[in-house]
């Protein structure tokens, strides 16, 4: 319990301070979360689900946490100009784990829509907040969620009432900015009431070279007939560690797309839990990572089909260079009664060096009779025949390798349902492979 103890001590010592700088809704589950954390601890490498990521070790380090909510001297608008051509978004910032309230985008949101800080939201709409906060997951699920629930003081919210369509894509940039090693405990809460629509792009950046660690819990509620896109783009640094846990609950005929792209990172563990709870719900879950040096992305997905006639499509790809490590563990659970389920999973990996490692484990658990399910996994090298074909037309070998690597990830990017973003990501992926994004370029890289 060595790594855990410092967080238990910290919480016990500063509980009042944490509460004081947060809100009643966020404070409510803290006690229970502490109990859960004390009982569960960090997930162990001895367990099946965290075999390749040593969580305890990642947290053992002594990070600073901004419990007093001291203003970080940064104007994110100066640091980032994410003025993406063909993609104008409503732009919001979270600095470490505090929502940046000082300047909000000048947009006319449809009536009733709330986009902004979590703390403020829970104060403005305590009833709605209480109904949803911490309800797509629970601190007894795993120790990292418990720790996050203990310590989270703010976050980001998208709340779209019934029948409302938010046309302009929403962009949240989460930045790590600190002169000392820092931990952030982030929350994102998305409430899509029946038949509402919105698209959210979250970009994670680190702008300093100190050590950063984040825990993040993202909860998405998609009501009946709601449409929601969630794009997660990580462009951090080698000294950044992140643990995210995304929990999506989908009602009947809802349609949710999740696309998680890692262009640069240190160590990332991304958990995706999708629950299809109403008939004819549709889920697309995809992602990719481009890894080199000692980078690691550990992807864990768990899709639950709990209602009939639902569809899920899952596609994850990894390109591994140098000594990098990729992990994919994909579980599909089709519950009893979830007839006419269609669930497809695919994991494809390209290991460009002998030293890179990919661990992949698909798991299908089916308790219904009339279902269509498939899974497939391949890990291989660049296709030598294709390489030679390109070379034989005058394209240098290095360039040809790059073209094939870019092509390998193209279908994940093609899953993006926002044209401007799709274009930009094709571009960013190419830059990444060309080594032009070797360090997090902030959103300047997006231009």
């Amino acid at each position: 319990m060595k790594a855990e103890q410092q967080y238990i001590d910290l919480f016990t010592q500063y509980e009042d301070l944490i509460r004081q700088h947060s809100s009643a809704v966020l404070n409510a589950p803290r006690k229970q979360a502490l109990e859960d954390f004390e009982r569960l601890g960090f997930p162990s490498v001895k367990g099946e689900d965290y075999k390749y990521t040593d969580v305890g070790q990642a947290f053992a380090f002594n990070y600073g946490i901004n419990l007093k909510r001291i203003d970080i001297p940064v104007n994110p608008y100066d640091v980032f100009r994410c003025d993406v051509p063909h993609l104008s978004t409503s732009l919001y910032f979270v600095v470490n784990d505090t929502f940046y309230e000082k300047r909000l985008p000048n947009v006319d949101l449809p009536e009733g829509v709330y986009i902004g800080g979590l703390k403020t939201f829970t104060e403005l709409y305590p009833d709605v907040a209480e109904r949803y906060y911490g309800k797509a997951t629970s601190s007894n699920k795993d120790g990292i969620i418990a720790l996050n629930t203990m310590l989270a003081q703010d976050g980001f919210v998208v709340y779209v009432p019934r029948d409302i369509v938010v046309k302009r894509p929403i962009q949240l940039i989460q930045i790590f900015r600190s002169d000392v090693d820092t931990m952030a405990n982030r929350r994102v809460l998305v409430i899509m009431e029946p038949h509402s629509q919105a698209k959210l792009l979250v970009c994670d950046h680190s702008i300093d070279d100190v050590k950063f660690i984040s825990t993040e819990v993202i909860e998405v509620f998609a009501g009946e007939g709601a449409f929601f896109d969630y794009y997660d783009l990580e462009e951090s640094t080698e000294s950044t560690t992140r643990f995210t846990s995304l929990h999506v609950k989908q009602e009947a005929s809802s349609n949710v797309l999740v696309n998680g792209i890692t262009l640069n990172n240190g160590l990332s563990r991304n958990n995706y839990y999708i629950e299809l709870n109403g008939e004819y719900a549709e889920s697309t879950l995809c992602g990719m990572s481009i890894l080199d040096r000692e980078q690691q992305v550990d992807t864990y997905t768990h899709i639950t089909h709990a209602a009939p006639h639902c569809t899920s499509n899952e596609l994850f790809k990894n390109v591994l260079n140098d000594h990098s490590t990729g992990v994919f563990s994909g579980r599909i659970l089709v519950k009893e009664g979830a007839e006419k389920t269609a669930a497809f999973q695919s994991n494809r990996n390209l290991c460009a060096t002998r030293e890179s490692r990919m661990y992949s484990k698909p798991q299908l658990e089916i308790y219904a009779d009339d279902v269509k399910c498939s899974h497939g996994m391949t890990t291989g090298q660049i296709d030598e025949a294709a390489l030679f074909y390109l070379q034989s037309r005058g394209i240098p070998q290095e360039e040809a390798r790059m073209m094939l690597s870019i092509a390998f990830t193209a279908d994940v990017v093609d899953n993006i349902r926002l044209d401007g973003l799709k274009e930009r990501l094709h571009n960013l992926v190419e830059k990444r492979f060309r080594g032009e994004l070797a360090h997090c370029a902030g959103c300047r890289g997006c231009q």
Partner: protein, 250 residues
């Protein structure tokens, strides 16, 4: 233009070419015929530098240079082009990007500036028409989902784009229906100039009805066992290869 001297080569330690001698001059069309397994495709692979094949002896002089020392990409940029017997499908790489990269590499090698976007599209359009290749195919991934005929036409389209000095057509007629065969052959003929040369590797006389060779060689068991004028192709069509095999073995 091309001089092959006593070329020995093989794959996985097995010798396939056992001393090839062949001279090709500019403006000429050479046909290389021969039964299956005689080494025809190995010869084309070695000429374009396929790393799977190892040269064990002999030399190849192309335009005064030692061809075997050049990388595959440099051979292409020096003007050698292979129309593949089995063109490779490359999902995710669009024909447009592929050709733009290739054309610009050729330009760079020659010290020319990259081709502008509008000029490039114009070039694509112009060359596409030579092999009646659909605009839609040009927008798709390289060879992905192309029919056999479309793949071969796509090879000749690439040849038109890169304007090689020495074109090697490896079994370009295999798997082609009669219409595609005519289109492909017409395309190849349109690209002929007094300055370039073509090596047509084929099993059958059929393609040679459209692309008239100046010289016909018969490759058997890793050696060229007979060289003659175009009439040899007709003779082979009638009599098969057996009489030559017997002759060679004697």
């Amino acid at each position: 233009m091309l001089e092959i001297k006593n070329l020995h080569a093989g794959i996985n330690g097995k010798e396939i070419l056992k001393g090839i001698n062949l001279t090709v001059n500019k403006g000429e069309v050479h046909a290389i015929m021969g039964p299956n397994g005689s080494g025809k495709s190995t010869l084309s692979s070695v000429l374009v530098g396929n790393p799977a094949f190892k040269v064990t002896e002999g030399e190849v002089i192309y335009q005064g240079k030692n061809l075997l020392e050049l990388s595959p990409e440099d051979r292409s940029r020096e003007g050698i082009f292979l129309s593949f017997q089995y063109p490779v499908e490359i999902p995710g790489v669009s024909m447009v990007n592929f050709m733009r990269a290739a054309v610009n590499e050729h330009h760079k090698y020659k010290g020319l500036p990259p081709v502008s976007a509008t000029d490039f599209l114009k070039l694509m359009r112009e060359k596409r028409s030579i092999v009646e290749l659909d605009n839609k195919l040009a927008g798709r991934s390289v060879n992905e989902g192309f029919s056999g005929g479309e793949k071969k036409r796509n090879e000749i389209f690439q040849m038109a784009m890169l304007e090689p000095i020495l074109a090697i057509l490896d079994e370009t007629d295999s798997g082609l229906d009669i219409d595609s065969l005519r289109i492909v052959a017409t395309g190849v003929n349109k690209l002929r100039t007094p300055e370039n040369a073509t090596i047509v590797i084929t099993h059958y006389q059929r393609l040679l009805d459209y692309i008239k060779p100046d010289v016909v060689h018969v490759l058997y068991n890793g050696r060229i066992i007979k060289t003659a004028g175009p009439e040899l192709a007709l003779e082979l069509e009638k009599k098969g290869y057996d009489w030559l095999k017997t002759e060679a073995e004697e």
